[in-house]
Symmetry: C2
Subunit: 315 residues, 2 copies
């Protein structure tokens, strides 16, 4: 389903260059599965958690979920004539993202609530699935679903082939990711942890539904990530991959386990093939975690030098 | 681990009498796995959810988690001299459960917060595990861990042997059940859905911890159960087992799926071997769901007549 050849039949991580990064990952995994060795971890405890935006797929020039929000505001605008005169909706409709940004987190929450709440969970899932069928990335023009990083999909496959259970732990909405996580990453719905909004059980006709309320339930970001891991998974991971300061606490939590623990930070260093950003970026800011990665010997993946290929559509 | 012989080597559900109940369960499971048949369900969608209190283990004369609360109040009392004069703590220390009950839900929440909050998640897990090592049921004198229903453990095994993934979906606390769910039921932590309290990430020394706050996060009961299933599992189950009105919405949600769906309600009818209660019980009240079970053709399990054996310690 992920479009990759069976991993056991080939060298692991073929889209990774033969650098230290690849060597360190393979060493860790080999030690994890070596029965009797010091690094051995029983299969049940081989939990690997992955951030999504900027770690598994692109998050520039803005989060893909924000692309969804912008499109949904436009699609819903005929039902909301008042949006023409009301910020931040007005600027979304005008296509003026700088003005949208000025509305800050409060404005963003308003946009999310207006586009993510007010329907049933089944309806929302259908809207998301349908959107992904045609929506394209503003820079590459490719479907958002092809904006995943091939080396990271190989890493997911490689870990699973070695008995790991792979989870997404993302600041993105759980119900935005679940409809596509299995197809893109081979990760089933129950292994997607993310931000949630409140739902309400109701009977419509004689049919039970869950209505999505315009109320935030849980933000799975920063210190929320270890809390989300504890709440949803109930075990401490031994492997974590992230790309920003929002993954810092999750990386600390994972590597503080008594046994083996591996943390990696994807560093966006490839302006040509993808993007180059870290300390100053409004999306995926990597500052504190960049310093700490060096200090704590977390693997810092240099996309430009460590990855042979980034996207599947590259020549 | 569950102390049961391998299920494939024997007739399924050996502790069930040869009544309609057993026949209906087996028929449903056989249809679920029959490829090409109308009732076939792909393995990934074979999700089964089980209430815990009164469905998998005994909930009389009071919830086992309440037994934990009472014991913890006594254990913590020396640190809280003020409890001697403060309800509902005073009545707990006096062993006067009738007075405790008078404090209502507000009093109960106070007791839960005082005993479940204020420590790290690791500390709480250790306290729970330790408690289960020695705590005994007030009527039988047996360890609480032996108060599970053998026929239900057989049912869990039988479903898993047929490709189902089994979850607990309980009003009880997630972190109260997780330390023992694997040992008692073969259900790993990530398949336990329940009520949660808020946690807070903190660094103590240089070690990251999650502190349990005395604040309720989510109540996984009644209409909260379908919401909890959606939040944690993200798929609609096809099999549900419960025993009270708190399971009604979850049973509706499960059986409203487009494909096959099976709901069962455990009816406590055996005063001799366990307890007999339904519409009037303060714990596990079964009233609306009892009427609806008949109306909707959900399986009503009559413990006295359908179960050959209830507890493993019976002769
Ligand atoms: Ca990220
Ligand atoms: Ca119950």
């Amino acid at each position: 389903l992920t479009g990759l050849a069976p991993v056991l039949a080939q060298e692991p991580l073929p889209s990774w260059n033969d650098t230290q990064a690849k060597a360190r990952i393979i060493k860790f995994v080999q030690e994890t599965v070596a029965e009797g060795g010091e690094g051995y971890v029983a299969p049940d405890d081989r939990i690997a958690v992955f951030d999504n935006d900027g770690t598994l797929w692109s998050e520039q020039p803005y989060y893909i979920q924000l692309g969804f929000v912008l499109d949904r505001v436009k699609a819903l605008a005929p039902l909301h004539p008042e949006w023409k005169a009301k910020e931040p909706f007005k600027s979304v409709l005008d296509g003026d993202l700088k003005e949208v940004a000025k509305s800050g987190e409060k404005g963003l929450v308003e946009l999310v609530m207006a586009t993510h709440g007010g329907m049933t969970t089944d309806q929302f899932g259908a809207i998301v699935s349908q959107w992904f069928e045609t929506a394209t990335h503003p820079k590459t023009g490719k479907p958002y679903t092809s904006m995943t990083y091939v080396p990271m999909r190989e890493l997911l496959d490689y870990l699973r082939a070695n008995g790991f259970t792979t989870y997404i732990v993302s600041g993105g909405g759980v119900e935005f990711m679940r409809p596509i996580a299995e197809k893109l990453y081979g990760i089933p719905p129950q292994q997607v942890v993310g931000s949630t909004i409140q739902t309400e059980y109701a009977i419509v006709g004689d049919v039970p539904v869950l209505r999505r309320l315009p109320k935030i339930d849980f933000i799975d970001d920063g210190p929320g990530k270890p809390a989300g891991i504890n709440k949803f998974i109930g075990r401490r991971p031994i492997f974590v991959a992230g790309n920003s300061d929002g993954d810092y606490e999750m990386a600390r939590w994972t590597t503080a386990a008594k046994g083996p623990g591996f943390a990696m930070i994807v560093h966006h260093t490839d302006e040509g093939r993808e993007y180059s950003y870290d300390r100053q970026s409004p999306f995926g800011k990597l500052d504190k975690a960049l310093d700490e990665a060096k200090r704590r010997n977390w693997l810092l993946v240099d996309m430009k030098n460590d990855w042979k290929k980034i996207f599947s559509f590259e020549n």
